[in-house]
Symmetry: C2
Subunit: 299 residues, 2 copies
């Protein structure tokens, strides 16, 4: 069951989710030429990064926007990247943030849970309401896949709508994102694995600790996909507080890991090694904060 597989990966390898959000400008000099083109270069880059980090991460996340921006060749590189991670038996998240009315949602579920673009998990946007999420969930259950629904994003503009105070169905007032979280928690109860986590997860950008605690408590059966580590400014201490004894969530970093080669003297030739070293540091920093948070009497 997909949620148990992710739980066991996190337990064995730690909570890092390496984001293969590979812009063509991230490639070291010469790689595109050597690979026979930009999209080919992106795929070669991803493959080398996966080979160098597969024992350090819980999973990979592929941000489809970077591939769509390269057109049809980019979509081929996207498909090949997903397939490569899946042949290694490692979970891969399609970061597609899709959503639409039910009939269309079924098409998106088919698109990203089967065929050329098959992934294990996909990210969804909740704005259209729960009848636009349920077709994904039905398909996820049928195919043993999972979804992560946007609850609270890490960008400054998340305040525009996600933080507006709403009168929720429960009669309680709170920010919109907590109303979304409440509906996600209900959906999550449909498909919980033996480790207590569901095939329905949530994307929660960590900022204030009080927010993190409230979200973590409400979504106790959900894996949290925690963006914003590294290039976006999140720290290991921030994210450790979103985890539950080091499990129950994955911490994404993309740019800061993929561009590690730029800080290394021979990084252009040893780019995957540079990413490996930075991924190791990230994993260690989170593990240290998780250990500190778990140690009695410490803070």
């Amino acid at each position: 069951m997909i949620a148990d597989e992710l739980y066991e990966r996190i337990a064995a390898f730690g909570p890092v989710c390496l984001g293969l959000d590979t812009a063509s400008t991230y490639l070291p000099p010469g790689l595109a030429e050597k690979s026979g083109g930009i999209a080919e270069g992106v795929y070669a880059f991803n493959r080398a990064i996966v080979d160098a980090t597969s024992d350090l991460v819980a999973c990979y996340k592929v941000q489809i926007a970077y591939y769509e921006a390269m057109g049809l060749e980019g979509m081929r590189a996207y498909a090949r990247t997903l397939a490569y991670v899946r042949t290694k038996g490692i979970p891969v998240i399609a970061d597609v943030k899709r959503n639409d009315i039910a009939a269309t949602a079924e098409q998106y579920a088919k698109a990203h849970f089967s065929g050329d673009f098959e992934a294990d998990w996909m990210t969804l946007n909740p704005y259209l309401g729960m009848d636009s999420i349920e077709p994904f969930l039905d398909e996820a259950i049928r195919r043993d896949k999972g979804i992560f629904v946007l609850v609270r994003t890490s960008n400054p503009g998340s305040a525009d709508f996600q933080h507006l105070t709403v009168d929720a169905a429960s009669g309680r007032k709170g920010p919109l994102y907590m109303a979304v979280a409440g509906r996600i928690a209900s959906a999550a109860s449909r498909c919980t694995g033996k480790n207590g986590y569901s095939a329905v997860g949530a994307v929660t950008g960590c900022t204030l600790r009080t927010e993190v605690s409230a979200v973590r408590a409400l979504l106790s059966a959900c894996f949290l996909l925690i963006p914003g580590y590294g290039a976006q400014g999140g720290t290991a201490a921030d994210v450790a507080s979103s985890l539950a004894n080091g499990n129950g969530g994955i911490v994404n970093a993309s740019r800061s890991l993929l561009l590690a080669w730029k800080d290394s003297p021979d990084g252009a030739s040893l780019f995957a090694e540079a990413t490996r070293a930075k991924t190791l540091s990230m994993r260690a920093a989170i593990a240290a904060e998780v250990a500190a948070a778990g140690a009695p009497g410490e803070k």
Copy 2:
């Protein structure tokens, strides 16, 4: 300027937006085989529909989910469909409902405003906030493109979040979708054409007339993309009230027009003619309601 082009198309050809949401199951028997495959058949179908209706519609809208569901071959059919409409000089909307944090939004804007997947307009989801919309708007202004932002969708589940009462920045209480509409109205003022309409439009599913009036008043400079006509139950009278003297909006129908051949005795061979006839009826029904609404003393 893109908004003026759409205004003039609506003025000349009426407000119908024909949705090329072409599921593989919509093809008449034999077309896929004759075309050399399912994705090829979808492209051949779309091309015939466009040839048969180009003098009856304001624009076309292509729902990418149906193409993503066919994998790489589907994405090729998507690209070819967009290109075919654009060579005819008719506006085409990429119905992609994309959204992400700013750096990723830039990639999506590049993806759908240039290259293989170039469209004239694209649909966006506002959940992440205005800093996730602005990169699209910047790129739209730079390339003379347009965006339609989801405000109020037509599915029953839209009530889950879009209808929650929020305390908006203005201090006024109202449904979330009106808070979104308020921000969209501000953004729209950045790029208004000589006909008074902006390159920023809004997707507004019409149900109650009081809702329609409030949205129409707030978004007076925005084209409204009105879904739900036909197969989803919207009537000509419903949509006429969302238009402003027959302009200022486009009315989408997809399934009801694409599947017109199923109601016609020789529809399988004359599928494009069946869609043409049904598109003519739809356009006439809307025009009659617009005329009735505009006639003094009538209702």
